[in-house]
Symmetry: C2
């Protein structure tokens, strides 16, 4: 391991270059937080040089500067492909400064030149109106991780290296972030990592002791306990501690060399055939450096460095307090800016520590995954079509069609497609993927395990956070995938969905950010068919979350049957920079459309189902429109139309099905929005619409707002009623059954068809019969079930 | 420790009673999953005895039965107050069976008698229409934890024992659940536990190996790594493993005795003055027993016991498969039901293992916290009033008023009130609580720490999941509290909020469940004033989540100023069984109402602010209504009204402020809904309303749906536009600034006041000036800031 030996020991030149880079990064961090002028300290600081509002966090910066500087040396010496994920909150200035030192920042933002003028701009834009946020964000070159909402740094690191064998993702985890559940859960990533095919993550837990106002849990644990914790998680723990310089350079270089040597040894063995297949013990580094290291040791006689007081802005009131202003200047001059930035330009020592070109972490293409993205190889989706000879005549588990499609994705894209799912791939009827790939586990596999191996690429872990976070990073680094989960439990990671959408929304405004594959979320154990699991499993809340996103990224599809799902999925897997929500249940459901009809229907996004309706009027207007979006409520709508046809044949009924929810809003509100002419074509100008919706009914009220006479939309949806019951009872509890819809139709039309009263009475009787059986005759359960299920045929 | 010695060793009578109880619980688990008749096996099983649909999970049951049986013995011998939290999913039948064996079930549900007829009912109701879900739920006596959505068992256990010194919460964590982030993060609970004042949690990690279709991560780790992991988390790890009987009884009794002895030793020392204050090493148990232990070892020649195949229903197709039917009968008879249930009633051995009365875990009052709830002692909230002499004339950090109120809660309720917050109590201007109580930390405290001690009761941990979960359980066990967090990051635990609401919604239908203190969530670093933190910190999504809940539990308040907040908070802290969302920013904001005015305004929930408007019409109708809900948008609305008064004094303008968002829907849709007369009184019949809303605008469209001419409500709200910028720019980006609102008013009235065009031009100019400065003149930042901030005065 001579490579590692060479890495571990520093020459004087190494130390000079590393330390120059380290000091320069620290200087830029302080300058960004404090200065709006005189950023090179060409004259003594004055209050006018100080920003009016001091934002950004200093405390985390120096430790991250140390890591970044040393990673640069490692990359230079080894040619390693690497990206850097910065977990600590508001540690943006250090990473922004790193990109500027590496010249990437100026390449991406030509206005921010790599000289004194550019440095001034860099400082002024930081946490300023029209500028950039105080944490690493989508605007930061080299980042695939926004450090705003804490908890996801490590899960993103793992997602980035799956099927990326040459990539090393260095992930700095702050000890504040380490208190979050999602972060703590993401240490398990190594149990799903294959050293032969995947790259490596090097987690660096930065224990600098404190969060905003108090210590962190891990910082106060004994070193023995911290070692035990991460040994227990499966890591080989390497510790680096101190605050002395250049001592810390030597120790960190040795620690990083040890870690890198172990990573390469694991990978080499896995790739040259000498690996026995046992799960490797991957290295991690615990870095203990003082919070706000190299900053003011004391302020106003109170200890600052190494305490929570160094977390944000260690010197406050600098504009007003001459003593603080003087101390700031001393602090900044301690890094020797004259030496570091002659003529405002980083000096030769700094340059010497920068890798070249795309090896720079701030310029690595993996952190701008769209430039690496290749289209997913997709076979003609008609190959998976379900043969539908007549509408609403057969019940099929339509998800199996999608499963066949995903299986071929695995066949045809063996390095660029993965399915992520909390241990429910089979349960979700997507098990066809196991014909091509096992579940992944790096842990011990026994004879009793089925479709489980270290070579598997189907990702099952009982953690929505891990599933979603892995997929996010997998797409951010340019690959394709899907997260399939229970509809109700998609809310577990809803905040991640929101944050990813925010990333995409902002990425759309950055020309240098190439578009990445969309985040495809499949909800296929849905609210209406968790009749067996009960109320806790019944909740369509994620639809509303996605509807709040900007129209540029939000897409919600509710295919009514298998062929529509295939058409929609084909579209979603070809798309870029969207959050695609696909909602369809896994249970046997009625099928409606042939493949040709499905393609036409999905292309329009919504359409009239003439076969389901009964339009008898001569003026081109029905008496009532029955609309629906979602599989179960579509079945109820079609059945309600049947009831109306049978009992009140005089009534002119139109049935409209909506696949693409985003066709409903006005064109000015969403790019998928139908023209007003098309909207009137479906829903007329003024005829009342009984709308059966899969989710909470407020969503439809919101979507049709501003459409002609929006008040005529009478929505039935999930009204938060549920329990363990029968599928049909779920529709009754939520007042969205065929009987409710049929009566709604009668109540909301001006027409007065013959037999209307008879139909009302029939519906009331049927509901009464249902209630009587289900609610009062539990002891007659089997008959109840037969009867109730019979209602659904 | 003779107590512990006695606990550790079992007499023959002990074994007989424990084993009878264990077998009975297992029998009931199997019976609930499979049988609808012949539940005592009084005759050979026939296909008709089998349920039509087999639901519920067998795999986790026997291990939990073992734990419960042994806890019963411990309680009998020690008199320990204890509750049981069951983490594993769908493990409901075992806990339901336990309650029935203890007779609690029949006490709570008299129809389910403790005899053969009752057992039949117990079986038939399980996972059946009109029955109970397959996981532990609100219907399960003795539970404060719904096992539907995984991840929260342990955080609920910790929340239950804070300030409950006599309570032991036994928490079984499934190894599937242990893969979730929230669960992994909740092991940190012991770092916040004070043995003197708080009770104890005994976590039992049940490693039975598998989830639905594959092994779990922890089950495949070496015992050394598992020990290391939990040692690292700070626990004293006790291991019990095996599948032999009665050997497992002896070993588990010894392990439980050891754990209990350590807990009592810690508590005794802490309470008799001999504790040195160092963080105790609390015990936990790792229990390794086969998945589906005591069930079918093999089925159709394939290994089942101990594998994932035993997770759900080990014998399938029992109605059709005679061999499986026979095997089911053999399995059930292996527990000897004739001996266990003579005449259908649990035998004397079982009774001998049941604790008495409220010591039964299924009957412990702590698990029905409403019966223990005492009203929070609240001083007259007018004591904290802000002196407001004229509206909209001063800017105050109104949150400090609430802080003073919370400080007195700590003073007056030293054992029944806590504030939970991710390390931002001071930042949220609630720091007055530190005058009364420190932050809690059981870890090492140093001289640099401020307001931090083991005696503190302010709960700061950088985990929304822990904060919210602790508070949930704190209220579920009958105490009061508040979770204060960043508005955007409230979405991190949104799914917990949803699940807690579902619990309350169902609890409302169970007369035996006494009402508990409401879940109070304070969002006080809000979307509009995260101008410094940027787009990732800007998101009002939780409001929409709460609006989807049933009206019986959902409450959303947007107090416009400090005095309104006091009035609202007073109401929320007196309430029961609600989810109260309180939204008000922590920054300095304009104040409007005197305390008297605030009380009147908040009592109505919405009202006309005559001083802000300019109603000149003689027909009792203004030309336009400007409505608002939320502090920042209220300020913009008041300013827009000022502009209108100044420029177009002919225009009759009404200003309506809404504090209680739930006054907007119809009375039939929410109990707070205004009468139609009141609604017309505020918003007229037909005058257009420009509504400036704090959150996403769709929420208002949903809420006013069905109100007279709902289309006349033109909503401005957060349209997902944000960045690091100035507060005023946030309102411009989201098209909700005073200038937008003033123009909206002109655009939506039929009136044609003089000077309207001049005002339009003024507004356009002001916005243009703003854009020019903010977007194009970054280099003039200080002036921009002064100018922009000047707009807000």
């Amino acid at each position: 391991m001579t490579d590692t030996d060479a890495l571990a020991s520093l020459t004087d030149d190494d130390v000079r270059a590393l330390d120059a880079w380290f000091r320069a990064a620290n200087y830029l961090t302080v300058a960004q937080i404090y200065l709006q002028d005189n950023v090179l300290l060409e004259r003594p600081l004055t209050p006018d040089d100080i920003k009016p509002r001091l934002l950004g966090h200093w405390g985390t910066g120096p430790g991250q500067a140390l890591v970044y500087a040393h990673m640069n040396r490692l990359i230079r010496l080894t040619g390693q492909q690497a990206i850097y994920l910065s977990g600590p909150g508001h540690g943006g200035p250090t990473l922004v400064g790193a990109g500027w030192l590496e010249d990437t920042y100026s390449e991406v933002y030509p206005d921010v030149t790599r000289d004194g003028a550019g440095m001034k701009r860099l400082c002024r834009q930081f946490s300023s109106p029209g500028g950039i946020p105080s944490h690493v964000s989508v605007t930061t070159p080299g980042s695939i991780h926004e450090g705003g909402e804490l908890g996801y740094a490590l899960v993103h690191a793992f997602g980035s290296v799956f099927d990326n064998p040459d990539l090393l993702s260095v992930c700095v985890v702050g000890d504040g972030e380490a208190e979050t559940g999602p972060l703590e859960g993401s240490w398990k990533g190594i149990s799903f990592l294959n050293p032969e095919r995947d790259g490596a993550v090097l987690p660096i837990l930065h224990l600098n002791g404190a969060k905003i106002a108090s210590p962190t849990v891990l910082a106060r644990k004994s070193p023995e306990d911290v070692r035990a914790l991460f040994t227990g998680h499966g890591y080989d723990v390497i510790e680096v501690e101190g605050d002395d310089l250049p001592g810390m350079h030597h120790r960190f270089a040795a620690g990083l060399a040890e870690a890198y040597g172990k990573i390469r040894a694991i990978q080499t063995a896995a790739r040259d055939g000498s690996w026995d297949g046992a799960m490797p013990r991957w290295p991690m580094i615990v870095l203990r450096s003082p919070k706000g290291w190299t900053g003011p040791k004391t302020v106003d006689g109170v200890q600052v460095e190494g305490t929570w007081r160094a977390h944000q802005v260690p010197l406050s009131g600098v504009k007003e307090n001459a003593d603080h202003l003087r101390q700031l200047e001393e602090w900044m001059r301690s890094y020797d800016p004259d030496e570091l930035f002659p003529d405002g330009i980083p000096n030769a020592d700094i340059d010497a520590n920068n890798p070249a070109g795309e090896l720079r972490m701030s310029a690595n293409p993996a952190a701008n995954g769209g430039v690496l993205t290749e289209d997913l190889r997709i076979r003609p989706f008609r190959d998976y079509a379900l043969d539908v000879t007549s509408p609403a005549s057969t019940r099929v588990e339509g998800m199996r069609q999608l499963g066949a499609m995903l299986a071929d994705f695995y066949r045809d894209n063996p390095e660029t497609f993965r399915l992520f799912c909390p241990d429910e791939t089979n349960s979700n009827r997507l098990g066809a993927v196991f014909d091509v790939s096992d579940r992944m586990s790096a842990e011990v596999v026994t004879d009793e395990d089925v479709k489980l191996s270290k070579d598997g690429r189907v990702m099952e872990v009982l953690s929505e956070h891990n599933c979603q976070g892995w997929l996010e990073a997998y797409t951010l680094t340019g690959r394709h995938g899907m997260f399939a989960t229970y509809e109700a439990f998609a809310m577990v990671s809803a905040s991640m969905t929101v944050q990813h959408a925010k990333w995409l929304e902002e990425a759309n405004h950055l020309p240098w950010r190439a578009k990445i594959p969309s985040l495809n979320i499949l909800l296929t154990s849905t609210t209406w068919r968790n009749d067996h699991n009960g109320f806790s499993h019944q909740g369509p809340g994620l639809i509303n979350v996605v509807l709040n996103m900007r129209s540029a990224v939000a897409r919600v599809y509710l295919p009514p049957d298998a062929n529509c799902m295939l058409s929609v999925a084909d579209h979603c897997f070809r798309s870029r920079n969207y959050v695609n929500l696909l909602v369809m249940d896994k249970q046997p459901h009625l099928q409606y459309l042939t493949m040709d009809e499905a393609v036409e229907h999905c292309t329009k996004g919504a359409g009239i189902w003439e076969w389901a309706g009964n339009e008898t009027g001569t003026d081109g207007k029905p008496d009532i429109v029955l609309a629906c979006a979602g599989d179960v409520v579509t079945a109820e709508t079609v059945a309600a139309a049947e009831l109306l046809k049978e009992w009140v044949p005089d009534l002119s009924v139109r049935v409209v099905n909506v696949v693409d929810l985003m066709t409903l809003p006005r064109q000015k509100d969403h790019p998928h929005g139908m023209s007003e002419a098309d909207f009137r074509g479906l829903f007329t100008d003024d005829v009342d619409v009984v709308f059966a919706f899969h989710g909470y009914h407020g969503a439809i009220h919101k979507l049709v707002h501003g459409r002609p006479k929006a008040d005529r939309f009478h929505v039935r949806g999930f009204i938060e009623q549920g329990t363990t019951t029968t599928p049909f009872d779920m529709t009754v509890l939520n007042e969205a059954s065929r009987y409710h819809l049929a009566v709604d139709a009668l109540n909301n039309t001006d027409a007065t068809p013959a037999n209307a009263q008879e139909l009302r009475e029939h519906c009331a009787q049927m509901l009464e019969k249902h209630h009587a059986y289900v609610r009062e005759h539990l002891q007659d359960m089997p008959e109840v079930r037969d009867w109730v299920l019979g209602q659904q045929s």
